[in-house]
């Protein structure tokens, strides 16, 4: 008997019951509740992300802004802030990736995966929580923008549509960050991987600087990648005629193109995240 150990049962021991587990909706809400509480009770997260955004905005608005020409009637602050609001989603997404990676690293994901709940609930719950957090981050970014002199010239409907579009981008990029966090496996790795991916996308786009001012090659990359149509769409919606005058196509062209990008990112990275999460 080297392999198996057939052991004598101890009689008279009660048997624990079966845990039915929570349903999809209820478990998703529970997972989301944890995320929101974690955020609300970690002041560093709230304060530092806000300060970081503010420093960033102040530098571009006041230190670099003077050297950047928008080649139109649009003032630089009105050019910058819509781009800043869009890219704020990406910078904020680093927190998501790091959070996911920490959960993997510290066994939290394993614990959730060992519970009798639909595995989708873990991802859906995070998504729900991030909608709430994203709304918060958008409000902060818009508030900061207003404080440094941003005055949207577009219609009220346009401004609302711009915020809505930002939420859509946020929900799409969410999956890039979740997949990144799952793959990275450690908080530090997640920070590096996502930082490396986000930095060129943000800076080599029309978010802070018109792509027309970039040398060819860089400019082509800037025009092809998703952040440029996203920034252009949001800017056109926020600023109305002055913003539209800077770009070659209509607002609906950029909105349509950026929505296509968002859909593609959602499908590809959502699939990757689910695949990675379900792997065992």
């Amino acid at each position: 008997m080297t392999g198996a150990s057939v052991l004598a049962p101890s009689p008279g021991i009660p048997r624990a019951g079966v845990n039915t587990g929570a349903g999809l909706w209820s478990s998703s809400i529970t997972v989301a509740g944890r995320m929101v509480r974690k955020f609300a009770r970690t002041p560093q997260l709230i304060v530092f992300t806000a300060i970081q955004s503010a420093v960033f905005l102040l530098m571009f608005r006041f230190a670099f802004g003077g050297a950047i020409s928008t080649r139109g009637h649009l003032s630089y602050v009105n050019f910058l802030v819509p781009g800043f609001i869009v890219t704020n989603i990406l910078w904020g997404g680093m927190g998501t990736a790091v959070g996911v990676a920490e959960d993997v690293e510290h066994g939290f994901v394993d614990r959730l995966r060992s519970l009798p709940i639909p595995r989708a609930a873990v991802l859906i719950g995070r998504g729900l929580a991030d909608v709430a957090l994203m709304t918060w981050a958008l409000a902060i970014a818009a508030g900061l923008g207003f404080a440094v002199g941003f005055r949207p010239g577009g219609s009220a409907a346009g401004v609302l549509a711009a915020f809505g579009l930002c939420m859509v981008f946020g929900l799409a990029f969410e999956w890039v960050f979740i997949a990144g966090g799952l793959v990275a496996g450690s908080a530090q790795a997640a920070q590096s991987i996502i930082g490396l991916a986000v930095t060129p996308l943000v800076f080599l786009s029309s978010a802070y600087v018109p792509v027309q001012s970039m040398p060819s090659g860089v400019r082509q990359f800037g025009e092809l990648q998703p952040i440029t149509p996203m920034a252009d769409a949001v800017r056109s919606l926020f600023t109305g005629a002055d913003g539209r005058a800077l770009v070659d196509h209509s607002t609906s062209y950029y909105v349509g193109l950026s929505l296509l990008w968002a859909a593609a990112i959602f499908v590809v990275f959502g699939f990757l995240a689910v695949l990675r999460f379900a792997r065992r």
Binding site: A16, V18, S27, R37, K38
Partner: protein, 324 residues
């Protein structure tokens, strides 16, 4: 009676590493089973397979009669898992963590609250229930983590190295908590690198190495297997150890010398008569013996006898004195 756990020929390979190499294991209900082995023996891989976190390459695995490969979702209804890290939310209180996981186990809000109160008592955390876990000590974190896996009263609780990194007092408290669980109908499979932990906690010990079971049985059975008795000689002067060791080699097999402790020991078959022989010869050679004893082998010695290498082969695990 359906075994709580039944594994047949489990294999799992990661690249070049064969984590499980045809592991067979059967455990009956009402027992605490300890999986004992060095780092990399396959303990964690096996626990993850039982927890349905990974899928074995081959073999069969049944948990409480449920096929874990075909019906992982049903297995999750009867297990609880506490992994190597305290997987709790630091920004929530102990009570909130318990209630959250209680809800996920499918309890109503009211049931989850009641379960949290029960578990807090069980884990002796009632006084600290409403503090954020972030402020807990290492031992408290471990206990709340263990507690979280208990809010659903699992039939099989999986504990992967539960006492790693704990101070002796916290360890004892954790052991008490674990022992009390069996009485409530929760069977336990725990992994450990600590021989004394397996010895004190488990009704059955399964020793694994290189992904297979190399020995199993009750702590007493395993100690018997390694040789009947141990003769241990303490000398006053370390210069005399080589002579003692040479002498012991003639009455038993492969004596071991522990210079800092000034002692040598050997496994023998016929303990009491060999003890007399030893004393006589040592006296004849003029060796001053400070202490001589006949005792049962420790699990450390059992492991050495069964695998040919010490259990504490890794350098990150704390040193276990020979014969401690």
């Amino acid at each position: 009676m359906t075994p709580i756990l039944e594994a047949r020929g489990l294999t799992k390979r990661y690249g070049k590493t064969q984590a499980l190499a045809g592991l067979d294991l059967t455990a009956s209900p009402g027992r605490v089973v300890a999986l004992l082995g060095p780092n990399g023996a396959g303990k964690t891989t096996f626990v993850r397979a039982v927890a349905t976190l990974l899928r074995p390459d081959a073999g069969t695995l049944h948990v409480d009669g449920i096929d874990a490969l075909r019906k992982p979702a049903s297995v999750r209804q009867v297990i609880g898992l506490a992994g190597q890290f305290a997987a709790v939310e630091e920004a929530m209180t102990g009570r909130e963590n318990l209630e959250m996981v209680g809800r996920l186990f499918g309890l109503s809000r009211k049931q989850a609250k009641a379960a949290a109160v029960r578990v807090l008592g069980q884990m002796q955390l009632t006084d600290d229930a409403d503090r954020l876990v972030r402020t807990y000590s290492g031992g408290m974190r471990r206990r709340i983590d263990l507690g979280v896996s208990l809010v659903g009263t699992p039939r099989l609780l999986l504990l992967d190295e539960p006492s790693t990194g704990l101070d002796p007092v916290s360890r004892l408290r954790l052991w008490d908590a674990i022992r009390s669980l069996v009485l409530t109908g929760t069977d336990i499979l725990l992994t450990t690198q600590y021989l004394d932990e397996a010895d004190r906690l488990a009704s059955d010990i399964v020793i694994i190495d290189h992904g297979t079971v190399i020995a199993s049985g009750t702590p007493t059975e395993l100690k018997t297997r390694a040789g009947d008795d141990m003769i241990e000689v303490h000398v006053r002067d370390t210069d005399q150890l080589p002579a003692v060791s040479g002498m012991l080699a003639t009455i038993g097999h492969d004596p071991r010398v522990d210079v800092p402790q000034r002692r040598a020991c050997v496994a023998v078959d016929d303990g009491s008569s060999r003890l007399m022989d030893t004393l006589r010869v040592l006296d004849g050679q003029g060796i001053t013996v400070e202490d001589i004893s006949l005792r049962r082998p420790t699990l450390d010695e059992v492991f050495l006898a069964l695998t040919g290498k010490p259990a504490q082969a890794t350098d990150d695990s704390p040193e276990q004195p020979v014969g401690a």
